[in-house]
Symmetry: none
Subunit: 214 residues, 2 copies
């Protein structure tokens, strides 16, 4: 019983949205890293309390709390303990999850330009294969409107993996922890979508991209 209720509590918290902003101490134009937020997500995802996480990592409850609330910048040694204790890999500090569902013997064809349109300030999405629900992949085409990284408030970040192919134009792919990469027509990239990412158009005309997210 106690177990159950604890679980419920944790579930609730897991859904909670973190509001605190990282106060970039020294870093010049560095994007917020939000390490703490990440750590908290992972811990709650595993249904651990600070106390339990403390035992696992060898870090004090208070220290964990401060890290999660971005009150301190943990030493590298602390990050290592954290990562080892929680059973994740450092680069993998940004990954989770599984998936269910199936399309069960079905097929859906989307004609050029006939997908479902969703405009945003930075992209204009055209969702493909909208007839099928519960599918493992979400394919869409988009026209990149963003002309600089600053057009994004923050990194785009979501569950799963993402594949992208440049259909036309030239873009720059920004990925957290990686160097920006220029991609031309025909170039493609595959990455863990829980890493921050963003795409900017470099050419005169808007670039067109095909995405598939799993």
């Amino acid at each position: 019983m106690t177990e159950q209720v604890h679980f419920l509590r944790k579930e609730k918290e897991a859904v909670l949205i973190q509001r605190k902003r990282a106060h970039s101490a020294a870093g010049a134009a560095l994007k917020p890293l939000q390490l703490g937020k990440r750590v908290k997500e992972i811990r709650l995802g595993k249904g651990l309390t600070l106390e339990e996480a403390s035992h696992l990592t060898g870090l004090a409850r208070s220290t964990l709390s401060k890290i999660e609330n971005e009150q301190i910048s943990p030493t590298f040694a602390a990050v290592t303990k954290l990562v080892n204790g929680l059973g994740i890999d450092i680069p993998q500090l940004f990954n989770p999850a599984e998936r269910e569902g199936t399309t069960g013997g079905r097929r859906d064809i989307t004609r050029n330009g006939k997908g479902s349109l969703h405009p945003t300030p930075t992209y204009e999405h055209e969702l493909l294969a909208t007839e099928l629900s519960g599918k493992k992949m979400i394919p869409y085409k988009s026209t990149i409107c963003a002309r600089s990284f600053d057009d994004y408030q923050d990194w785009v970040r979501h569950e799963g993996e993402e594949f992208m192919l440049v259909l036309s134009g030239r873009v720059c792919l920004y990925t957290e922890f990686y160097q920006p990469a220029e991609l031309e027509e025909g170039d493609s990239a595959y990455y863990d979508a829980s890493m921050g990412h963003a795409v900017v158009s470099l050419g005169e005309e808007d670039a067109k991209i095909l995405w598939v997210t799993a």
Copy 2:
């Protein structure tokens, strides 16, 4: 001249093997980690002095020295500065050797035409994102050689779901239980790959298709 000689000196150091052992202060069964060694390798690899690296990263010469000699465990903030300043990837800092089973926090870019090629009688595949193992999706481009359904011995059939987009040319998509569908450039289809399926080129030239299988 001076330039040249400096370079030589740095080269020599780059080859030098680090002997110093990290004295694991608190960490119990923590891996060596040797962050410092790695940083030094990278700095020397780029032919930078501590002074130059200091300017680039915003960290003091002394601090860099201590990090390289594993005398201190830099804060995460310092690691971030370091990584940004030296223009390297965080994943690059950690065991560039090992890595298995997942894409966790990784990225792979494939340039146009630079994928791994696999010719068959009916398709010519170019596998994309081959650097990542354990990924959820398998993307590839292919040139359709088949000119009639009879070119196939039987339906193509495999586990999972498949998405396809016509990059150029015209094709006919045959799918078990469905009517054949003509697809033009920009058209796409999504189907359960365990249904029999096959694609035939209709035009004069071979058609190009992008596939993603999950």
